[in-house]
Amino acid sequence: MQFALLIYESPKAFASRTNDEIDAYMGAWRAYYQALLDAGIYVGGDPLEVPETGTTLRIEECKRRVQDGPYADTKEQLGGFTVVELPSLDAALDWAARCPAASYGAVEVRPLALETKRRITQ
């Protein structure tokens, strides 16, 4: 099964990508990425730029409504995602627990809907 690990981070965590804490932050993520590769479970994923760079769009009454900022206005924001191939939710939760963001933010584990993807892409 493929699971997405959705990484939720606080403004402080986003900030530590560029400030003095960069070594601790990047070091943890580099080690985690390497562990995913070594385990042979890494499928893909990327970090996202800070939430303020997001732009949300929806069509209302045939008009585009474009809004500055991310979709949800919450304290912790989606900061990136990693897709892994694992046999079960328990295995995915084990990997989520090792993710650096589990300690300073939160990680949501969600199975990929591959059957839906197949119906869309075939």
């Binding site: 694992l86 939710l89 328990d90 939760l93 199975p111 591959l114 059957e115």
Partner: protein, 410 residues
């Protein structure tokens, strides 16, 4: 076939359904993760049995007959569904064993995995007990809803949602690994004990609903024990529930009035149940791994001693509570500790323990106020005692307990 025979057949179907339900659902769903699909297939098989068995006679192995019938309806069903998650192996696996030889071969008991799935941390904790009652024991949503004071429709929707999460969320049917086992087993035990607790609270003497649920919980613990007889806490939980069950008849007076434990007549306690509880407690102790349920059972065991010795060793109960509070510092255990200490060392000592509990924590907890009122009364602080009784009375749900508190306040 005449009417009497048909009645017999219906009874057999009922018995097989009760004894085999969880085993069949667990086995049918453990590869597909589709608990709802397995339940549907099994109920179709049970309906088929209602027609076939009175006509052809009860099969030699009714459980295997139901399994084969349920499997056929699963195979009919699967091609219409999207089975990408687990894919073809499931269909193959179902086909492989669906020949008549399956009627004689034994199939593995996967109920333990199902219990762990029901109490999985990814499932809303409030749904652990309802899920177990439905998938392992086959209780219907309406009955579960009654026990949980929830509208049947709401309970039905929550059960469906939880089963969808099991199917699509990637929750595997497996025994947790060693590093997780104790925590995961604790969740299973808690869910079983929660069923017992609801049944116990509901059981206003004549209430069959509550009685049923305590029996179902004992049954679940017995199932768990068959599968994990080396786990001390499983023995501990069963011992605890059996000790409580043993006092069922003594809990109410002839007019249905509430009788507190200290005033119960030990002659009304069930000796066979007490003896069974003691055997499990001794077996648990043999493992040398004490735990919450063993300690609670040990406290009940000291109470049960009164049947033999005529007295209650409150100091021993206090000691068990001291250990219990270290691993389970809940409002309930702290209140129990206060009550035991008051019996052993006087009301002032008990009151000191109650005073150490944060008031906003205890404000809605009826036993806290009942014990507090009792201790204040013993100390002769009448005004304060009446206040505490009023508080306890306002929080009580069981009318027999309310009348008991009203009598004591007077």
């Amino acid at each position: 076939m005449n009417a009497v025979d048909e009645k017999d057949v219906h009874r057999t179907i009922e018995r097989v359904a009760r004894e085999s339900y969880g085993r069949l659902v667990a086995y049918l769903s453990c590869h597909t993760r589709d608990v709802a699909g397995a339940e549907d297939a099994l109920s179709e098989a049970l309906i088929a049995a209602l027609t076939a068995w009175p006509r052809d006679g009860v099969p030699r192995n009714p459980e295997a007959w139901l399994l084969t019938a349920a499997r056929h309806s699963l195979i009919d069903f699967i091609p219409h569904q999207q089975v990408v998650l687990t894919g073809e192996p499931t269909v193959l696996l179902l086909r492989e064993n669906s020949t008549e030889t399956a009627l004689t071969t034994k199939f593995p008991d996967e109920r333990l995995k199902l219990l762990f799935v029901c109490a999985h941390p990814a499932i809303d904790p409030s749904m652990h007990t309802p899920l177990m009652l439905q998938t392992v024991l086959g209780l219907d949503a309406a009955r579960i809803a009654g026990a949980f004071l929830t509208p049947p429709k709401t309970m039905g929707q929550r059960l469906v949602r939880a089963k969808t999460k099991i199917r699509d969320g990637g929750i595997r049917f497996e025994i947790p690994q060693d590093h997780e086992l104790s925590q995961r087993l604790a969740a299973v035990l808690e869910a079983i004990y929660a069923a017992f607790g609801i049944g116990w609270d509901d059981m206003a003497g004549a209430d069959q609903r509550g009685r049923d649920l305590t029996e179902e919980a004992v049954w679940l613990a017995r199932v768990l024990l068959q599968l994990m007889s080396d786990e001390a806490e499983v023995h501990g939980l069963l011992a605890l529930m059996l000790h409580c069950e043993a006092r069922r008849a003594a809990r109410r007076g002839p007019q249905g009035q509430y009788v507190p434990l200290s005033e119960q007549d030990p002659k009304q306690w069930s000796l066979p149940l007490i003896e069974e509880a003691e055997r499990h407690l001794a077996e648990a102790a043999r493992h040398g791994r004490p735990g919450r349920f063993q300690l609670e059972a040990a406290i009940q065991s000291v109470h049960a001693e009164r049947a033999r010795s005529g007295r209650t060793d409150w100091a021993a109960i206090g000691l068990f509570y001291e250990h219990l509070i270290r691993i389970l510092p809940t409002l309930g255990t702290r209140t129990g500790y206060a009550a035991a200490t008051a019996e052993a060392n006087g009301p002032q000592a008990g009151l000191a323990i109650l005073d150490a509990i944060e008031l906003d924590l205890a404000s809605d907890y009826q036993p806290y106020w009942a014990v507090r009122a009792h201790l204040l009364q013993r100390l002769g602080k009448r005004t304060q005692a009446v206040e505490a009784y009023d508080r306890a009375i306002s929080l009580v749900e069981d009318s027999a307990v309310r009348e008991f508190l009203l009598r004591k306040r007077a």
